[in-house]
């Protein structure tokens, strides 16, 4: 009978607080991850939005190609003009 009482006291005074403490730590760790994940998701969304202009690089590529073609034409013409002037 006495051992049984001791067992009850151990359950209530030691086991229960230890279980609550450990589970509380696990819960705190899990809940602390949530805001971090939400912040990362927001940053990823903003980063994705910032890259919307990347599609315009195709236009930039075309513009650069046309510009260099124009420069090449001007260079060829200048070559002839300077030859004539010389």
């Amino acid at each position: 009978m006495t051992l049984w009482w001791i067992g009850d006291v151990v359950l209530l005074v030691i086991v229960l607080p230890v279980v609550v403490y450990l589970l509380g730590r696990v819960l705190a760790a899990a809940t602390s991850i949530v805001p971090s994940v939400q912040a990362i998701a927001a940053v990823a969304a903003r980063g994705s939005k910032d890259l919307d202009a990347a599609a315009l690089l195709l236009t930039t590529q075309d513009q650069a190609t046309q510009t260099i073609a124009g420069v090449a034409n001007y260079g060829g013409s200048l070559d002839v003009i300077l030859d004539d002037a010389g």
């Binding site: 696990v26 809940t31 990823a44 890259l51 919307d52 990347a54 690089l57 590529q61 070559d79």
Partner: protein, 148 residues
């Protein structure tokens, strides 16, 4: 009769303790499950955002490489034309007049241009090669002096 009551009391206390422990387990584990579900939802959003980033940035490397190749070709052509028409010394002097200190870097396709001593120039007046007004450089100097 008394021992029976004592045994019953001990048993009730034990049952209460076990119930409390189980209740604590249920409460905290359910809370952890809810937190993990929130994390899963957040990670789904992260994966979607990162996938968009990867998708949008995929063609950037090739496009920028192509643009750089085009610009390199343009620079090569212009440098070659300048050196051909003005001569190495005047070309270096003209570039130095336009961009002070650029002569030290020389032309990319003419490594020997770094060894050329640029004619004495003033960066704002193009006094060096343009002051001599050779027939070849006069047109270039006139165009350069009219730059914005």
């Amino acid at each position: 009769m008394v021992p029976v009551l004592a045994v019953a009391a001990v048993g009730v206390v034990m049952i209460v303790a076990v119930v409390l422990i189980v209740a604590a387990l249920v409460y905290y584990l359910v809370s952890v499950i809810l937190a993990l579900r929130a994390i899963t939802v957040g990670l789904d959003e992260v994966i979607a955002g990162v996938s968009e980033i990867v998708e949008k940035s995929e063609p950037v490397n090739g496009i920028v490489t192509t643009i750089n190749q085009q610009l390199d070709a343009g620079v090569d052509a212009l440098e070659g034309l300048l050196v051909k028409k003005a001569g190495m010394a005047d070309a270096v002097g003209l570039v130095e007049g336009l961009y002070a200190g650029a002569a030290a870097a020389g032309f990319r396709n003419f490594p020997e241009s770094t060894a050329v001593t640029a004619p004495r120039t003033a960066s704002s007046t193009l006094a060096g090669p343009c002051s001599r007004q050779s027939s070849t450089t006069s047109t270039i100097c006139r165009a350069a002096s009219e730059r914005p």
